[in-house]
């Protein structure tokens, strides 16, 4: 519609103008990001700072962002108050087992929902999605009664069985699988690969980012689970870190500095796993994303 020449000319003018604007925009953008990071991290900074103070120093007017004297011994004291080590071990056992089970069963089941045609698929999938909408608290009582009948009460098995089969995992994996072109399946079928072969050799490797995503989400959810252990575990040697920490808080209500120290320690393993996995996690999302 327009001749090529003026269009090109306006484009050149446009880019020349944009250059300094872009730099300013970039500075503003990064400044905003730094400000938002401070908001996101403020509680953790305050947690660290308070954990190194004395209890009467935590709430002081005017407040101090940093301790006057660093009381590192707070981190020694907390281990003598409650059995944090046992809590950690129990949580690790549950979190690792549940994560492994969820990835295995979810990625397997999602394949049928996303890549196969069979009778009852849509009805079954609807039932799955519908149960995501059912809060766990709705059926926790009947579930609790069933688990107690099965002799799993006050064992770590209860928590493992409880969380190993999630509808959310299937839903998430299915969404990822849908983004993988069906041509791949067709080609593999023509080449004589069985459905299990396609899952193992083509779809699962392509869905590695989704697996990493599910992995981190499951691990975090299980590690942070509070209600499950609260209802199912009574003996102290069976407790996980969340209920253990809660017990600590209730026992030493006004030892703000110790509560903050124990809270921080409870965050370390999950934080470390996150930092270690986030690379795969974010790279995965960058290459495929939710829609593939």
């Amino acid at each position: 519609m327009q001749s090529i020449l003026p269009d090109n000319a306006s484009k050149i003018k446009h880019t020349k103008k944009a250059a300094p604007l872009k730099i300013i925009g970039s500075i503003i953008l990064h400044a905003a990001l730094i400000a938002l990071s401070i908001v996101a991290l403020l509680p953790f900074f305050w947690m660290i700072s308070s954990s190194l103070k004395l209890d009467n120093e935590v709430f002081r007017y005017p407040m101090r962002w940093l301790p006057t004297v660093y009381h590192w011994e707070n981190y020694r004291v907390i281990w003598t108050r409650v059995t944090l080590g046992t809590y950690f071990r129990n949580t690790a056992i549950v979190a690792v087992t549940v994560t492994f089970m969820q990835i295995l069963t979810s990625s397997f089941a999602a394949y049928a929902f996303a890549k196969m045609r069979f009778r009852g698929r849509d009805t079954l999938f609807l039932a799955y999605v519908a149960t995501i909408a059912v809060p766990w608290q709705v059926y926790m009582v009947p579930q609790f009664i069933m688990m107690r009948k099965a002799g799993l009460y006050d064992t770590l098995w209860a928590l493992i069985v409880l969380q190993s089969f999630s509808a959310f995992g299937v839903f998430l994996m299915r969404q990822f699988y849908l983004g993988i072109p069906n041509d791949l399946n067709e080609a593999a079928r023509i080449d004589g690969l069985s459905e299990y072969g396609i899952w193992a050799r083509i779809i699962l490797p392509l869905a590695a980012p989704a697996v990493a995503t599910l992995c981190i989400f499951t691990f975090v959810t299980t590690w942070n689970d509070y209600m499950g252990p609260l209802i199912y575990l009574t003996k102290d040697e069976n407790k996980t870190i969340q209920v253990g920490l809660r017990r600590f808080i209730q026992q030493y209500t006004s030892d703000y500095h110790l509560i903050m120290a124990a809270s921080l320690v409870s965050l370390v393993p999950v934080g470390a796993v996150f930092l270690f996995l986030q690379r795969y996690f974010i790279e995965g999302i960058a290459t495929t994303g939710i829609k593939g």
Binding site: F44, F59, Y61, T105, T131, V141, I249, S266
Partner: protein
């Protein structure tokens, strides 16, 4: 029987049968566990809604019909009735948490998508609140929102004087819950949006640039429409999550002060574990489920109007 079924729908071919069998073998490990651990208790709890039971021996269960529901809706209002109050609180909470979380996570994702420098580091930082354990985070926020805590002292610097502990004030407690929820949600859903943004073809922006579109026009006409599948997913997950809210409340305020932050699920928990009224608890649970289902169905029916799939 077989003949009747065969007459109703076309017979499965051999291949179809084989396929169905293979499909169910894929489903089996998850489906069996899921059916036993989740579906059976869900059905059991639906039945409980029509029964009267305090958790004693099975032969103490009696049929209640609609009594549980009648009991709940007796003198129903939003100021005195437990169900009404918790329903009002939950809706209020969701009404602010869902849009605020979407706005924050989308803003973070857009900013990160533009920022070339240290984008990875920022992603890690923003996501971290979601990773951090609830008990630790909630107790930390509780302290931070105390009368002499850092939040009030910071607010005083900009002329806003809040001379109460947030979680102990009727007016502020629910906002404490909302703030903590949005702070936690933002990073999580940011990741969803980042994934969505990666799926927007660069050619669209290039074409728009050639056509002389402004940044705002590109955002309105390309980014937002292309992100609708993500927004759809995010809004459903958020809404469901909001109605399921329990942990933050239980740890930070235990529903208080009074009933100011008591949510539907807290009420269910109270009915089942402190008052041992399993039937009534299940009746509330079913009400909660129906609400969530209705919200989801409404979102699914309007999906076609605003969601663009490529």
């Amino acid at each position: 029987m077989i003949n009747a079924a065969a007459a109703k729908r076309p017979r499965m071919s051999k291949l179809e049968k084989r396929n169905t069998l293979i499909a169910y073998s894929f489903l089996a490990p998850n489906l069996i566990g899921f059916a036993l651990i989740t579906m059976v208790p869900v059905i059991f709890s639906i039945m409980l809604g029509f029964l009267k039971w305090n958790g004693g021996a099975l032969n103490t269960i009696t049929w209640a019909g609609l009594d549980n529901f009648r009991e709940l809706f007796k003198r129903f209002d939003f100021t005195r009735n437990d169900l009404g109050v918790t329903l009002k609180n939950t809706v209020f909470y969701a009404l602010f948490t869902v849009p605020l979380s979407i706005a924050c996570s989308l803003t973070l994702a857009l900013a990160l998508n533009k920022a070339a420098r240290a984008a990875k580091a920022f992603r890690v930082i923003f996501f971290f609140p979601y990773v951090a354990s609830m008990v630790a985070v909630c107790v930390c926020w509780n302290f931070m929102l105390m009368k002499l805590g850092p939040v009030n002292q910071l607010l005083a610097h900009v002329g806003i004087n809040v001379n109460v502990s947030w979680t102990q004030s009727r007016a502020y407690a629910i906002w404490a819950i909302i703030i903590v929820s949005v702070w936690r949600n933002a990073g999580y859903y940011m990741v969803m949006y980042l994934a969505g943004l990666q799926g927007v073809p660069a050619e669209l922006y290039e074409a728009a640039t050639v056509d002389g579109a402004t940044a705002w026009q590109k955002f309105r006409k390309i980014t937002l429409p292309m992100l609708t599948p993500t927004t759809f997913f995010v809004s459903i997950m958020l809404t469901i999550g909001c109605f399921k809210i329990f942990d933050v409340v239980q740890i930070m305020t235990e529903g208080g002060p009074g009933r100011a932050t008591k949510m539907l699920v807290n009420y269910i928990y109270q009915l089942s574990f402190t008052e041992l009224k399993y039937g009534q608890a299940s009746a509330v649970a079913m009400a909660l489920f129906l609400i969530v289902l209705a919200v989801t169905l409404v979102q699914f029916t309007i999906e076609k109007k605003w969601v663009n799939y490529m």
